[in-house]
């Protein structure tokens, strides 16, 4: 495995926006006064994690699967290619797309600050922000993937990308087999958030796919 960006931002500190600071101040105060129970709060937020933003990233991936020119543009300049579809982050983050292949699997880590392309991926899962996830993803990516139910062939190289304040990553999962006849929209339904973080794979097509949507 290789680990990118191990160095280069050690001196970097984290930064929270004014509104994030206000939300944290409220949460700390209400927690200290016993009105809010942090685990229950995380649970409640978790139920909304799919409700933040449209599934923009899934559409980006589906387009890359079906349009070779778009795929090339995405790999070359993901920020511009994602903006082509009308998706831009409020924070103007710089996006980099990394593609899974038969030989290489990519996964992304970061932590609690805003280093997460929510405008593309939606709300980060609660576990994504946990310190153990981050350190273990770097140290033992294969073990972490196994816990997520993803087992890769021994010879697949795993690359772990560490998000920074400047660069956020989008994993392009491998297109599942048996999806030749599907439309871009149907393909987008197979692209889960976890597959775009690299902790999951794109879903296999169901025989009735599209009928129940």
């Amino acid at each position: 495995m290789s680990h990118n960006n191990d160095h280069g931002h050690d001196h970097d500190h984290s930064e929270l926006s004014d509104i994030e600071l206000r939300v944290r101040a409220l949460e700390t105060l209400l927690t200290e006064k016993g009105y809010v129970d942090p685990p229950a709060l995380d649970n409640l937020v978790e139920t909304y994690e799919t409700k933040v933003g449209p599934k923009n990233g899934a559409r980006v991936v589906a387009k890359a699967w079906t349009d070779p020119d778009y795929r090339e543009r995405l790999l070359k300049d993901a920020t511009a290619a994602i903006a082509e579809l009308g998706y831009t982050g409020r924070q103007g983050e710089h996006m980099v797309a990394v593609e899974n292949t038969a030989d290489r699997h990519n996964m992304v880590v970061c932590t609690l600050c805003s280093c997460y392309p929510w405008s593309v991926l939606g709300l980060p899962p609660v576990w994504y922000k946990s310190a153990p996830y981050r350190s273990r993803a770097v140290r033992d990516p294969r073990g972490v993937l196994a816990e997520f139910g993803v087992s890769l062939p021994e010879d697949t190289e795993i690359t772990v990308w560490d998000s920074t304040a400047e660069v956020r990553y989008l994993v392009i999962p491998r297109r599942p087999d048996g999806t030749e006849g599907l439309s871009e929209e149907e393909l987008a339904d197979l692209v889960t958030r976890d597959s775009m973080i690299g902790t999951g794979l794109a879903l296999p097509p169901s025989p009735s796919h599209g009928a129940s949507a």
Binding site: S14, L16, L21, L29, L30, V52
Partner: protein, 120 residues
């Protein structure tokens, strides 16, 4: 945890096709959840909350700007109502905000940001 039955009475609440709240940024979901929990802990009734939010929305304009800025108004109203209820004085929140800002700046990128001696 369930949502208040009176959720539908919340003025102008952005909803998705299934009738659930929808957010454009993670902090919005968090402040929404904080409000629901504070309500469920008995800090205020949902009608007190909708009145406070409605007043804030009305104060800010004609409400024709759609959902943009909706949760900015929401957090203003939430802070205001907590102050009214004597739960959170403005000075307390300002001090905590400063503490979080200092904690963030002192935290190397990639480490979780924590307030010492508070939330783990």
């Amino acid at each position: 945890m369930s949502l208040p039955n009176e959720l539908g009475l919340t003025p102008s609440l952005p909803l998705d096709v299934d009738g659930g709240p929808v957010f454009s940024e993670p902090w919005e979901a968090r402040v929404f959840a904080l409000t629901v929990q504070a309500h469920q802990a008995g800090v205020f009734t949902w009608s007190e909350w909708t009145a406070a939010l409605g007043a804030e929305l009305a104060r800010d304009g004609d409400g024709s700007e759609g959902t943009a800025g909706y949760y900015d108004r929401w957090i203003d109203a939430f802070e205001g109502l907590l102050a009214t209820k004597g739960i959170a004085a403005a000075g307390q929140l300002a001090a905590l905000k400063t503490a979080w800002d200092e904690a963030a700046r002192a935290t190397p990128h990639g480490e979780p940001i924590v307030l010492e001696g508070r939330r783990s």
